[in-house]
């Protein structure tokens, strides 16, 4: 027994030490900084004040944008990814399935920076708006809007949503659908009653993955939001690298961590309730 415990401790040690050094300690540092002041030449000066937290309101727009566009982006990804994953898992033959799955991954072969850059041209004045202008549909402003940021989000995060859903649909025992058919359920009803509930673990995983990553996103809003649509991530870049106010930046970072913890907890509670108390829906 004792030997087994020592073995487990040894196995956990690398990950534990890593987390301690790379997560817990930095978090403590950020927490300490958040109660300090901006040094005279930028950076951090020791102090104990709540001023940084009281000043959070000045970055309200960043929090608002993040808290609107991250869930919206997650939802948009879900609505596009689910049908795609469904077709891949349920309707496509073995050979085409592999081809299509590779196509879903192909964008990952180049950097997200380059791909997002391409969207600047596509959505910019010389891209899609010009095409629409030729077709006599007016020249809407697409770039530097919440819409363009959303397009970038869906483009960048879609595969992260497709795969967990695909896996849960692919694993679904197709005989259950025959059983539902046999018991009198037309296809659309067996989808709602069997397929969808049983693919919820994949949906929950995909949403959690995309949502958490989106909460910290800064690249897409920086490139496609043109300084008008910015996330908390952009505020952090600005505070730490531009205005070098580490203390206020730390307070914003702590606020983001708290917001994230609250939303993810609420989300997992909700999923668990919908999943009828199944842990796999909430945790997978």
């Amino acid at each position: 027994m004792a030997r087994r415990r020592i073995g487990a401790t040894l196995l956990l040690a690398p990950a534990g030490l890593w987390l301690l050094a790379m997560l817990v300690l930095p978090l403590v540092v950020v927490l300490v900084f958040s109660f300090g002041e901006r040094g005279p030449a930028g950076g951090y000066a020791p102090a104990f004040t709540l001023a940084n937290f009281l000043n959070l309101g000045s970055r309200g727009a960043a929090f608002r944008n993040t808290l609107v566009l991250a869930p919206l982006g997650t939802l948009a990804c879900l609505l596009i990814a689910y049908p795609l994953a469904y077709v891949l898992a349920m309707r496509v033959g073995e050979r085409w399935r592999t081809v299509l799955l590779v196509l879903v991954i192909v964008p990952f072969w180049t950097s997200i920076l380059i791909r997002t850059y391409a969207w600047i041209f596509l959505l910019g004045g010389q891209g899609i708006p010009k095409l629409l202008g030729w077709l006599g549909l007016g020249q809407p402003m697409l770039i530097n809007t919440p819409f363009s940021v959303l397009v970038g989000i869906v483009y960048g995060y879609l595969p992260l949503m497709v795969f967990p859903i695909y896996v849960s649909l692919e694993r679904l025992d197709k005989r259950l659908l025959e059983a539902a058919d046999d018991l009198g359920a037309p296809p659309w009803r067996s989808f709602w009653q069997i397929t969808l509930p049983l693919s919820l673990p994949g949906v929950a995983t995909g949403c959690l993955l995309v949502f958490i990553l989106l909460m910290g996103e800064f690249l897409i809003p920086a490139m496609l939001g043109g300084g008008k649509v910015f996330f908390v991530g952009n505020a952090l870049v600005d505070l730490f690298l531009q205005s070098r106010n580490w203390a206020f930046g730390s307070a914003v970072a702590m606020a983001l961590v708290v917001v994230m913890l609250v939303t993810v907890t609420v989300y997992m509670r909700l999923m668990r309730r919908w999943g009828g108390g199944r842990d796999d829906v909430a945790l997978m």
Binding site: R175, A180, D182, L183, R189, G276
Partner: protein, 370 residues
């Protein structure tokens, strides 16, 4: 599915008429003609790939025939999807819905009905179904809390609660251990009698088919070979395939030496001649096979009777009888089942013992060898 009040109770509940099913170039079922009687327990028996599952799936509505007609209660149903057929199935691995409890699984079919029955009606029907399969009080359980045997009962309850015109069973016992399987077979048979629902079972287990069915359909290579009661098939198999598949038998190949309607004489190895009842018309010189069931072969001590001199190779004790493998100089190896009483009278045979093998007149069947 309109049901006329003046229904002819002798009319078949389901029919295959010249049904052929192809999957691409593969013919899964060919020229099926079969009438399933109202209230009977019918089994499709055959090795895997013989077309029995395809036949069942065409009744369920999961497959459509490439040619021919499928009728349910006098009405054509080919082209009708499974969810619109008054037929229910017990799946091989039960296919219970894992995200629903036992009661919700059983209620699933009733909840698909339009107009939808009331909650109280559904609850009553579910309780009755649970009682029928002897799982009273299990309604609140989750599926994964149940044993294999209990899951099997839930699958059964989920099907019979809908009072289907046909209950289809796709190798339902395959996942159960031997003892449980035996109990379940007896229970299924009792259930079928008390419910009066027509059961159609698919199995590759001849013992299962023999013990439960009113009639058995023997299939081979997508075709129906013979349809009959377990006794008919055992006592009067149409050919060597059926005799081999239903029960054990000894086969002695040879050529027809002479035949009339009542008796055929088969010349087998070493100049031996076996006389038996022919199961079809034979002409002289034709290849055929004599079939003799092991329990009809008696083993005697040398000098105690007339028969074939054999040497005992092995003896396997099987409870009610001992199965001896013996060897005759010309006929080769064959089996004899010696009942306990006979053993008590003359003692056990040991490997290497000399013995006399004999069978009563008329015990041999002369069958086509194909």
């Amino acid at each position: 599915m309109q049901q006329s009040p003046l229904q002819d109770m002798d009319a078949p509940i389901a029919e295959f008429r010249a049904v052929t099913k192809r999957f691409g170039a593969v013919v899964a079922a060919e020229g099926l003609d079969l009438a399933i009687r109202r209230g009977e327990f019918l089994s499709f028996l055959g090795p895997s790939g013989c077309g029995k599952t395809t036949a069942l799936r065409m009744l369920a509505g999961f497959e459509e025939p490439s040619e021919g007609e499928v009728l349910l209660d006098g009405q054509r149903v080919d082209g009708l999807p499974a969810h619109r057929r008054p037929v229910n199935m017990v799946f091989q691995h039960y296919a219970l819905f894992p995200h629903m409890g036992v009661a919700d699984n059983i209620a699933y079919g009733l909840r698909q009905r339009r107009p939808r029955p009331s909650g109280a009606e559904i609850a009553r029907a579910v309780d009755r179904a649970l009682e029928t399969v002897r799982l009273e009080g299990y309604g609140g359980r989750r599926i994964w809390e149940l044993s294999g045997g209990q899951q099997q009962r839930v699958a059964l309850a989920r099907a019979i609660v809908n009072e289907p015109k046909l209950l289809l069973l796709d190798e339902p016992m395959a996942a159960l251990d031997r003892k449980l399987r035996r109990d379940m077979q007896i229970e299924l048979q009792g259930l079928q009698r008390s419910l009066g629902i027509t059961f159609v079972l698919v199995t590759h287990d001849q013992e299962e088919a023999l013990s439960m069915s009113d009639r058995i359909v023997i299939m081979r290579g997508g075709r129906i070979v013979q349809v009959g009661s377990p006794r008919d098939l055992y006592d009067a198999p149409r050919d060597r395939y059926v005799a081999d598949f239903v029960g054990k038998s000894n086969f002695f190949p040879g050529r027809i030496e002479g035949a009339d309607g009542a008796e055929a004489r088969l010349a087998v190895a070493g100049g031996q001649v076996i006389a038996g009842r022919p199961r079809r018309a034979f002409s002289e010189g034709q290849a055929a096979v004599a079939s003799i069931r092991p329990e009809q072969v008696a083993l005697l001590r040398p000098g105690q009777g007339v028969g074939l001199p054999v040497r005992v190779l092995t003896g396997i004790f099987l409870g009610e009888h001992t199965e001896y493998l013996v060897r005759h100089e010309d006929l080769g190896e064959f089996l004899a089942h010696v009942p306990r009483q006979a053993e008590a009278a003359q003692g056990r045979f040991a490997p290497g013992d000399e013995a006399i093998a004999a069978w009563p007149e008329g015990a041999a069947l002369i069958l086509g060898d194909d």
